[in-house]
């Protein structure tokens, strides 16, 4: 596996501009001769599909939901960053770049991050032109707020529904192209494998989720915009259907998987209430702008009503440990601090795994109506789920898996190690390093889809000659045969356990051994437990019904089967990285006061894993990271 990041030379501030000039173009009249498959229709997939279709390419877009508007991008609440500097508070493209590199704990590729900061401003312009109703000030200009880990106000938002509004913007652009016939949309269709012909990604095998039949699609290039893999933990804030299958299948066909151990645990989620729990609900991080996080100082107070605990007996631990960032400390640090106080036995709520997020001070200072205007819908949502009124009693929160910084490795052009296979949005590994800052996921998805891929894919088409490939090609026969066989196997085991029970068990292993904190012993144990569970899965699974049918148990079983292999890659990655950085906290590597201890001498690289067969340790390749513009430093928020 050759890793050539294709980072342009020269000063970083000019690299994207000069790269755009150097890239080859496809003549406007020839664009319609090139077809692209886009898998996924969230922010990245929808914006890429629409933008490429506008340019003239023929696009086929696939999603497993009933409509592209359901993609999980819709659930993002807080906002989207851009370096517009409207508030006149000292922000700049350089500062957004700097914050993102530092926030990623120096494990991202500088050139990619700089480009992201650069195009961030165009995204806001684009969304406003589409009719995205961002929040505004009384003078009619756009409102900004500060958001987790930033000391400037650069976050644009639309109530607590920013993801929804941006997705609907991208969806509307996509609809326009579907309407004029430039995009063919395939809803309720799940990609089950990638077809590679002569070393190039040329098609996919899809299962029509209504008829259950397999279908073949061929194109000149394939784009994966299939999101992240937080559901490997079973309980996460991701939507139920989010899965790793498309990315993992591409990995099995030769795409390198980068930094799978970089997972983000979001600090503000509603704690688990019982064994039947199907997912965890995020409460927007924006709440930390006005909420204060605390637990009782004394274990004895943990069972008491929060109002009865005196001010002096409360430990506002984020304000205490990180005076300059306080309750706005970045996600990885806030999450780990919550785990720490709960592990000390000072957690609150029935499970003991919870901390308070308290608004009483802000309500006293600003009045309930201001708090209601800012967070009304979030407070309602909290009350609907828990039955508690957060205006009267503090919220209970606990960290939960939320986002995955790892993903398929891509070069500067967003192409994976398989020629022609491009990966965008959360599905790729770029830009966020070992930790993502708040309001940066929406930014990256739209940057990739609107402003990066539409350029770079043209360069790919113009740079090489392709032989015509149709779905009659033998490669399609072989891959479809393998897929059919796999489905037949899943249906024929006839054991005693449901797909969900395996998924839950895998989730527990991963959360305990490869979650918020990891250590060598636990990871080695997980690398024993996962193959054993996988073996049981293939012996004792029960999926009723048949393949050529609407079969929800079969859909789930296929996704769990891939998680059961992928989880092992994650653990190998976490075990290999003998340092702590960002979302990857190895207990053996911490400072005396419990902060993450990076090891830049030995681990300043992205780990890229190459498939070597089920159950075999994958081969490790390294993309070394250089920091010419942001000086490597200890990330301090004190």
């Amino acid at each position: 596996m050759k890793l050539d990041a294709k980072v342009p030379s020269g000063p970083i501030a000019q690299s994207w501009d000069s790269h755009r000039f150097e890239m080859k173009l496809v003549n406007p009249a020839n664009k319609r001769k090139f077809s692209v498959i886009v898998v996924g229709s969230g922010l990245a997939g929808a914006s890429a599909s629409a933008s490429m279709a506008e340019l003239g390419y023929e696009v086929d877009c696939f999603c497993f939901s009933d409509s592209p508007r359901r993609a999980h991008s819709i659930a993002a609440q807080g906002g989207i960053n851009a370096a517009k500097t409207y508030p006149n508070d000292g922000d700049s493209v350089w500062r957004l770049f700097y914050d993102t590199v530092k926030g990623g704990d120096f494990r991202s590729r500088e050139a990619n991050v700089y480009r992201l900061a650069q195009v961030s401003n165009h995204i806001i312009d684009q969304c406003v032109a589409q009719g995205v109703p961002f929040a505004r000030e009384y003078g009619g200009l756009l409102a900004n707020r500060s958001f987790g880990g930033a000391q400037v106000s650069r976050t644009f938002y639309a109530r607590g529904q920013t993801g929804q509004q941006l997705l609907l913007g991208a969806y509307s652009a996509l609809c326009r192209q579907i309407g004029v016939g430039k995009v063919k949309m395939h809803p309720r269709a799940e990609m089950l494998d990638l077809v590679v012909v002569n070393g190039q990604a040329r098609g996919i095998i899809v299962r029509n989720l209504v008829s259950g039949r397999l279908e073949r699609y061929a194109a000149n290039a394939v784009v994966l915009a299939t999101g992240g893999y937080s559901n490997v933990f079973y309980l996460s804030t991701n939507a139920k259907a989010c899965n790793v299958t498309a990315a993992y299948r591409a990995y099995k066909r030769g795409a390198g998987f980068a930094n799978p151990c970089y997972t983000q645990i979001h600090p503000t989620c509603i704690p688990q209430s019982g064994d039947y729990q199907s997912k965890l609900t995020l409460m927007s991080e924006s709440l930390r702008n006005d909420g204060r996080v605390w637990v009782p100082k004394n274990q004895a107070d943990c069972g008491k009503a929060p109002g009865s605990i005196a001010e002096n007996d409360r430990d506002y631990y984020l304000e205490r440990k990180y005076p300059s960032f306080g309750n706005l400390a970045p996600r990885d640090i806030s999450s780990r601090s919550a785990k720490e106080v709960c592990d000390e036995g000072r957690g609150i709520g029935p499970s003991g795994y919870g901390v308070y997020l308290d608004f009483s001070e802000a309500i006293g200072r600003l009045g309930q109506n201001v708090i209601q205007e800012r967070y009304g819908n979030l407070f309602e949502m909290y009350e609907r789920i828990t039955g508690d009124d957060p205006y009267q009693t503090p919220m209970r929160i606990y960290p939960a898996p939320h986002y995955t910084m790892g993903g398929l490795w891509v070069d500067y052009n967003l192409m994976s190690t398989i020629e022609g296979l491009h990966v965008i949005g959360e599905a790729n590994f770029s830009d966020h390093g070992a930790n993502r800052l708040g309001a940066s996921a929406l930014m990256q998805g739209l940057a990739d889809g609107y402003f990066v891929l539409p350029y770079t894919i043209g360069h790919y088409f113009a740079s090489q000659k392709q032989t015509p490939v149709t779905i009659e090609n033998a490669a399609f026969d072989n891959v479809e045969k393998e897929t059919t066989e796999r489905i037949r196997k899943l249906l024929s085991i006839g054991g005693n356990r449901t797909p969900d029970s395996f998924h839950r068990e895998l989730g527990r292993i991963m959360w305990n051994q490869c979650g918020m904190a990891r250590n060598e012993k636990g990871l080695r144990a997980a690398l024993q437990q996962i193959p054993a569970l996988r073996e049981e899965f293939w012996k004792n699974l029960r999926v009723p019904g048949c393949g050529e049918d609407f079969n929800i148990a079969l859909e789930h079983a296929g996704r769990v089967a891939d998680f059961l292999e992928f989880a092992e890659v994650m653990c190998h990655d976490a075990l290999e990285r003998n340092e702590s950085c960002g979302g990857h906290f190895r207990e053996e590597y911490q400072t005396d006061d419990g902060e993450a201890l990076r090891n830049d001498d030995e681990y300043c690289y992205s780990s890229v894993w190459e498939y070597q067969g089920v159950g075999n340790t994958p081969a490790l390749h390294k993309e070394s990271l250089t920091f010419d513009n942001v000086k490597l430093a200890v990330r301090s928020y004190k």
């Binding site: 629409a50 659930a75 326009r176 809803p187 609407f550």
Partner: protein, 248 residues
């Protein structure tokens, strides 16, 4: 608590459906309604039976996928609440709970409780957008928009496209859904350019999909989990009428 669930089962689009009774003995009040259905499905699968198909995804009330008529009401009839956010604390021991799919000709049942809502997407394809390409747009602050207008646009844009308005309407009308999209754009300068044409195109597609007409009973507004106001229907009618009079 113990519950009897009376659930619509239908194997495929053209199959004959029926209500089937299921019993659950150990339902916790803290479960969400969909988690209760998960428990039932686990039980069915363990018995080697076909699980009950229902649409769901984010389970946070924002993706618009979930779509159940619970005890005769879309999303169960709780204010501003989608099915995924209904919790079992609203039910009592011994209740008989009926669960049906959205019922509308334009939303055919695909299986059990899953319906085909692509008619909504086709309405959107016909003009539910501002016609701008990627790139070349002016600075986001170039056109100031009064906060109250932007807020109205946001009120309309909050629609999650779940289809509860159609399911609630005795005519299976999609006027609330369509008017919300028209309403979002007509309150923003970016959307004003195509305002009348958009109303004509969306209404034409809405009719072509077989949705019914509006007779102003506002069950749609009552069932909407995002409180979309029926005022947008009046605005849409105005644009539609004006569009046909001015630019027939």
């Amino acid at each position: 608590m113990k519950l009897t669930l009376r659930i619509w089962r239908q194997h495929h689009r053209t199959a004959k459906g029926e209500m089937v009774d299921y019993h659950l003995d150990d339902v916790s009040e803290h479960m969400s309604f969909l988690e209760m259905l998960d428990v039932l499905n686990e039980k069915l699968l363990a018995e080697g039976k076909d699980a009950i198909a229902f649409d769901h995804d984010c389970r946070e009330g924002i993706c618009g996928a979930c779509s159940l008529v619970i005890n005769g009401k879309p999303h169960g009839g709780f204010p501003n609440t989608t099915t995924c956010q209904v919790h079992m604390r609203h039910f009592n021991d011994g209740d008989v709970v009926t669960v049906e799919p959205w019922r509308a000709n334009a939303f055919p049942v695909l299986k059990d409780l899953v319906v085909d809502r692509t008619a909504f997407d086709r309405v959107m394809h016909s003009g539910g957008f501002v016609s701008v390409n990627t790139g070349g747009t002016p600075d986001a602050n170039a056109i100031p928009i009064a906060k109250n207008e932007a807020d109205i646009a946001m009120d309309a844009a909050a629609c999650i496209g779940c289809g509860a308005c159609v399911a609630a309407c005795k005519n299976a009308s999609a006027m609330l859904f369509v008017s919300a999209k028209i309403g979002q754009f007509r309150h923003l300068p970016q959307g004003k350019v195509e305002q009348l044409d958009r109303a004509k195109r969306l209404v034409a597609q809405m009719d072509a999909e077989g949705f019914g007409a509006c007779t102003n009973t506002y069950d749609c507004e009552g069932a909407c989990p995002k409180s979309i106001s029926a005022t947008f229907i009046a605005e849409m009618n105005r644009d539609f009428l004006k569009g046909n009079l001015c630019e027939p």
